[in-house]
């Protein structure tokens, strides 16, 4: 039938880890030769650093470079119990939630409309997706210009409403700018996936629905939306990952690299503590905690993708 969402076949193979070809080559040395570059890079630049992160999370580095001491779970305990970490974790949660909901919602609305209109559909599509190619820090740079204290039109506009927006000074105002820039940057990806999900719903199903159900709104919620749900679940994970990790560039630029008392996300804190604070153990412990979060997200992602198989 139709493909409710692309990529499900991949997931099935990934989860089972099978090669599916009926016929394969049997030449003994060739596959190792082909795999060597990839495996070498993975070993040196992935496995080694990941292991290093885990190892140093259990050590306390001497600040003057005289070796390190094994401290067990102290780094983790210090991290989790520090009030600052709790504050950052809470902000990350709220930030992730808002960015995800807002960018998914806006993209879904736009995709549904773009799927419906006959005239100008391809122009809308192009105009709504090109921001995909804009780098997060560039988005941040344009963002701080729009939110600039002296020249920013947004600041001037909200001043008319009595809101004296001060990014870099006010905690919530800064967070607001970060969220707007992050949502702006993420709408295109969601839009592309939702639109292709909508377009892959078979025409005959939609025609059947329009015979069975008069109200367009009801039809959307009872037929289109459930068929789109697999794409939505998949995007949910993608967006959470984006908000937690890929917004680094936006945040760094909005903060003009000087965080001060402003909101930061967990990943940003790993970077701050590791590179600015020279707290190797603490930063590593935070890395490991984040690794666990990503790990769980990835597992959920593959579970969800497996379920999408039902729709094909």
């Amino acid at each position: 039938m139709w493909r409710a969402c692309p990529g499900n076949r991949k997931a099935r193979h990934v989860v089972r880890g099978e090669a599916m070809k009926k016929v394969q080559f049997n030449t003994p040395a060739v596959p190792y030769l082909l795999l060597f570059p990839q495996l070498a890079i993975v070993a040196v630049f992935f496995l080694w650093p990941a292991a290093e992160a885990v190892r140093s999370s259990f050590y306390l580095e001497d600040p003057f470079g005289f070796g390190s001491t094994f401290v067990g779970f102290d780094n983790f305990v210090d991290t989790v119990t520090s009030t600052n970490y709790g504050r950052v974790a809470r902000f990350t949660g709220v930030f992730t939630f808002l960015v995800t909901i807002l960018s998914l919602g806006a993209a879904l609305l736009l995709a549904v409309k773009a799927d419906k209109v006959l005239r100008g559909a391809s122009s809308y599509k192009t105009l709504l997706m090109w921001v995909y190619a804009v780098a997060p820090p560039v988005a941040g740079l344009i963002g701080i210009l729009l939110f600039d204290q002296h020249v920013g039109p947004i600041v001037k506009f909200v001043a008319l409403l009595g809101w004296h927006l001060q990014i870099g000074v006010d905690y919530y105002d800064t967070a607001f700018a970060m969220i707007v820039a992050s949502v702006w940057k993420q709408i295109p990806v969601n839009f592309i996936f939702f639109l292709s999900g909508l377009q892959s719903i078979s025409k005959s199903v939609q025609e059947a629905a329009s015979i069975d159900c008069r109200s367009g709104f009801r039809r959307f919620w009872t037929v289109t939306f459930p068929l789109l749900a697999p794409t939505g679940f998949f995007l949910l994970i993608i967006n959470i990952t984006y908000a937690m990790f890929d917004t680094f560039g936006i945040i760094d630029v909005v903060l003009k690299t000087e965080p001060g008392n402003n909101p930061v996300t967990l990943v940003y804190k790993v970077y701050l503590d590791g590179f600015r604070g020279n707290d190797l153990g603490g930063s590593s412990a935070q890395s490991v905690l984040l690794m666990i979060v990503v790990f769980i997200l990835t597992i959920i992602q593959f579970r969800l993708i497996e379920r999408r198989v039902h729709y094909t």
């Binding site: 193979h13 880890g17 040196v44 630049f45 190619a133 702006w184 680094f248 560039g249 990835t298």
Partner: protein, 280 residues
Amino acid sequence: MKRLQISDHIILLAGVFFMVTPVVLAFLTSTHDAVTIYRTGLQYSIGDQGLSAYGTVLTRAGGFTKEVNGMVMLKNSLILGFGFAIGKIVISMLAAYAIVYFRFPMASFCFWVIFCTLLLPLEVRILPSYEIVQKLGMVNTYSGLIVPLIASATGTFFFRQFFLSVPDELLEAARIDGAGPWKFFIDILVPISKTMIAAIFIIMFVYGWNQYLWPTLITTDESFFTLVRGIKQILQVWVGAQIPDYDQAMALAILAMLPPVVIVVVFQSWFIKGLVESDK
């Protein structure tokens, strides 16, 4: 029906306005001089300065940095974009070919080792990655900039999925026609993957070009700065400047987004196909 269509268009136009306006404003502002901008705010028309801010950013060293001008940064961005995309495609096609088309004892072990790289983005292992690159003496080198980024296996999975969708009979026919592993790869598999390669190239080029955190750490020598990396430099000049060079900052922002945006728009259908089918 007709009224519904109008409301649809209004919503879409609002969306387009939200997506497009910031960049249009950035461009218009870049055509005015910094003092005008400082006095009157962002600009809504083409200014007297025209594109001269772009000339300044591209050619004059010391606009933001002391040693490097925009041309050098543009060159470095292209090296990063192309190097990353080509390196990733070559390496991941070879690996995916081995995994899909060969029967060998360690196949599933190799598969899982590569698979696990999808679990951890570079950002969470950034510190140890930096230290290792430093130990290997790869700081301020192009290979230090590019190779660690290739460690994630997204490309391998993309090609693996594509190869699995290639009909088995094609390999069978080729074997009956006397093609060995190498011949099959070059004569059949690579040519039929052409559109897939193009699609993944676009995605990877954009991904490489847009890298920020990693180049920030790995390149401290200004002659290795990319355009996106250069933004960090603007910010450091900006903080504490009396009248920031808004025009040049915006010119740099536009320059930094132009090549990937053009590629994505021009090769839209390939790009969307690649994005939607690769899942990442």
